[in-house]
Symmetry: C2
């Protein structure tokens, strides 16, 4: 599941110096669960949701706005289309979903980093979308392209992260029309993990596909991107997102079809009502992807938060979000689709205790709800408005616990440790026994951030809190970063593409 890579800086004395100080960093493979999911909701409730979702699609229907081609596709498939409203006969959406694969591979520049999305697997990807950054040095400010590159570097170096993500923060210092080009270049050149494409315009999705085609020397039907297509909940599919989905599906690139729901605002205030809407929306979106291109890889998404009914603020790491996520996972499994949800969510402004509680609540629930693709697994702060490098490091460290938990516990003869029990006996001590000596290295997950030192040592070292520990690690990681090697001709071809597109976009 894991491998070790040693990166070296280039050239002469610097190379030798670098070799002496080079950081070895491991990258774990994606998680394959060996433990059961938590089937939180009973069969009866799931059956009710499924029946009601079919009723919603048939009687209420969904809107595909400003998208005549989509309406035509739906009409041809047998839906009742009135204006932009698409009413889908019971059973049709589910039937159309059947051609979507239950599991698919997303390739990475480094083939060892390829991931399989679906089945018993869990792929972890970083935060997506924050317009702001908060760090220990600068406080809270608008995110820049330099911040973006920092997050991509951190993602590349994070052992327990399998995916480079997409818009790890919004590089607000780059014009919107060109942003996707710079973001893709960062993912393609600063990391060798898989990444996401642009969805903010169909033409940007097309640029994403073109650049991936260059990077991979021709995609040839392989899936190289998993991109985030949000549904405009309730029950509305806008032309921008659907345009991106159409572009990606036609190129056999994966999309996450994801309701974006603040409970009580964009969906009913009850868990079962919300799940009904989520299922109806996802089935309509996935079915549409299959109308565009049968067999296109697609993910059942569910971004669901609860709401503070006093202020209207979204809330994170709450039990209601967990109830919906567990249910969405059960529904996705019944539908046979890969499932995206959860993350290191928090509403806190700072990487403090609140951030820790809420993120851990959400990460643990994500593992047990059967998530296959977890966006926002690290770096998320302030309800997603802020990306934090220190929080990225804290969360990314915690992702190691999910790997260990998902692996289960062996019960072979070695794990049974009867020899150790016999050797030590009543009142003895296991630290020195043969079984411990043979097994201690891999027995326990090890943090690379948190503090376990005795109080006196910790106190002498400055009494640092988690934020201070993460700041120190952040500096070390960025100092140690070396880009993964990329073929020079390939890099040039990518640069030429970007330069050409920049020119075209400037003219238009």
């Amino acid at each position: 599941m894991s491998e070790t890579a040693t990166r070296r800086r280039g050239g002469g004395g610097a190379a030798r110096r670098a070799e002496r100080t080079a950081v070895r960093f491991d990258c774990a493979g994606y998680i394959t669960r060996k433990v059961p999911d938590l089937d939180y909701h009973p069969e009866e409730a799931l059956a009710v949701i499924e029946a009601n979702a079919d009723t919603v699609l048939q009687e209420i229907g969904v809107v595909f706005s400003e998208n005549p081609k989509a309406l035509e596709r739906w009409r041809d498939a047998g839906a009742d289309v009135q204006g932009e409203r698409v009413r889908i006969p019971k059973g049709l959406a589910r039937k159309l979903c059947e051609t979507a694969p239950g599991e698919f591979e997303q390739i990475a520049r480094n083939p060892d980093r390829n991931v399989r999305i679906g089945g018993r697997n869990l792929v972890l990807a970083p935060v997506y979308g924050p317009p702001f950054v908060r760090d220990g040095h600068g406080g809270r400010r608008y995110a820049t392209m330099e911040d973006f590159r920092t997050f991509v570097k951190l993602g590349y170096m994070s052992k327990w992260l399998h995916h480079s993500g997409g818009t790890v923060c919004e590089p607000t210092d780059i014009p919107v029309a060109e942003r996707h080009l710079d973001m893709l270049m960062a993912h393609m050149t600063l990391s060798d993990k898989p990444f996401m494409g642009s969805v903010t315009d169909p033409s940007r999705a097309a640029d994403s596909v073109a650049m991936a085609d260059i990077l991979f020397g021709g995609l040839n039907g392989r899936t190289a991107m998993t991109s985030l297509v949000n549904i405009n909940s309730p029950l509305t599919f806008d032309a921008t997102m659907m345009g991106a989905l159409e572009t990606y599906a036609e190129a056999m690139q994966a999309c996450i079809v994801s309701p974006f729901i603040v409970g009580g605002a964009m969906a009913p205030v009850s868990t079962i009502g919300t799940l009904t809407q989520v299922l109806a929306e996802v089935m309509a979106g996935v079915a549409y992807s299959q109308l565009v291109k049968p067999g296109a890889p697609v993910i059942f998404g569910a971004f669901v938060t609860s709401i503070d009914m006093n202020s209207g603020a979204p809330t994170f790491g709450t039990p209601e979000a967990a109830q919906v996520t567990y249910g969405a996972g059960q529904l996705a499994r019944r539908l046979g689709l890969p499932f995206r949800s959860a993350g290191g969510f928090t509403g806190s402004k700072l990487p403090d205790a609140q951030a820790g509680y809420e993120s851990a609540n959400s990460l643990n629930m994500g593992l047990l709800s059967g998530v296959n693709f977890m966006l926002h697994a690290c770096g998320w702060l302030e309800g997603g408005l802020v990306a934090s490098p220190e929080k990225f490091i804290m969360d990314a460290d915690q992702l190691g616990t999910l790997h260990k938990l998902a692996g289960g516990a062996p019960h072979d003869e070695g794990a049974q440790a009867m020899d150790a029990l016999r050797e030590v006996g009543p009142g003895g001590h296991y630290l020195g026994c043969a079984h411990t000596q043979a097994n201690y290295r891999d027995a326990f997950w090890r943090t690379e951030v948190l503090d376990y030192k005795p109080f006196e040592t910790w106190d002498e070292e400055g009494g640092r809190d988690t934020m201070a520990l993460a700041t120190a690690r952040l500096e070390k990681m960025i100092g140690d970063y070396v880009a993964p090697p990329l073929d020079a001709a390939l890099a040039e071809e990518l640069e030429n593409f970007v330069a050409r597109r920049r020119g075209e976009l400037a003219e238009s």
Copy 2:
């Protein structure tokens, strides 16, 4: 499940003033789970553990040290006793466990606070045992009786806490011989929730029973205390703890028979090996309680941490501790005994992000592993060396999420919300719809500590972290505290008992 109590200060103008400012505080009933446990380990592994535990008891055996009466009881029951080593034939310990009840009631001074321990229930109790206190004002220092009283008051006022606990901190300013008297008086007079008795000497257990007998006007076979009896792992039962257990069992008072294990030190370095030892130890301890008094209430305990193999420090909120706890829960259910484990565990020195992550990991795991009695549910810091009032408040708030999660989600017609889906339709908004208006008040769990405000508001209010928010709540809670009324004659009788015992202890 919950009720509201308004407490008033006594007498005249003060009373009227108090009435205007009186805090209403609710107390939730203990949790009754309506959702499944996580059966983390497969049947096959559990069967292996059970067979191996029987082998351990028969071939290796356990030690009952300095306890001739215990050895005699074991000999009479059919065990092979050599010196202090007790080898228990396969099947005997399990057979003896059968007379222990699967569920029992612990009574409280306020009958509305009675708890049922076992079955699908979860009773939450605060931190136990820290010699130090850390708070926002004084930093880290030795705990005092005043600190103890503060924690009892906080426990009394904490909505989601069902139990007042025991040694919420060690009152180091009181002589050891008298401490139990002051601690019991605090629980009995400052709270009306159920509590724990002393275990540090059989005579102190007897004092605990005597005081409970006064408080409840005669126990008459009712269980009024659940007390913590640690096993000296591996496989050793010392005379002090067993003396306390004997005293309590004879009086039909409940004990938690609990291995105290730092994995790799007091048990094998593997999950399955540790579980084998835990099961062997608990079966021996519970069996012994039934030899003392068949039918005495007793709890299957498991305090298990992992270890940092570099420093030897215990670690908390880790995946290995979760693996053991899930397994112990499964074994306890198979044995038909109430289960105690988990808590708001952390190794952090401060109530920071590390504390949040680790505590949330542990609390969520505790819920899903089927814990029936959760000691250390709030207030634990620095690996249990420190009790923190702010951490108490943060954890106690999070305990509300466990209540909501455990309750499951209804799927009746109201919860299905089909009317809301029809009313709102594509592109609409649920905030104003009839279903939301009718249900929003109880739809979402509400924090009383964490911050969800918009950034600007939060910033204007001082940009407080969770510690600062908890400090503010701590001051308010202690300011608002009013003791639950206690019959004056009863209070006097308790005081007389304590005074008499203090005199006797001073003489001895």
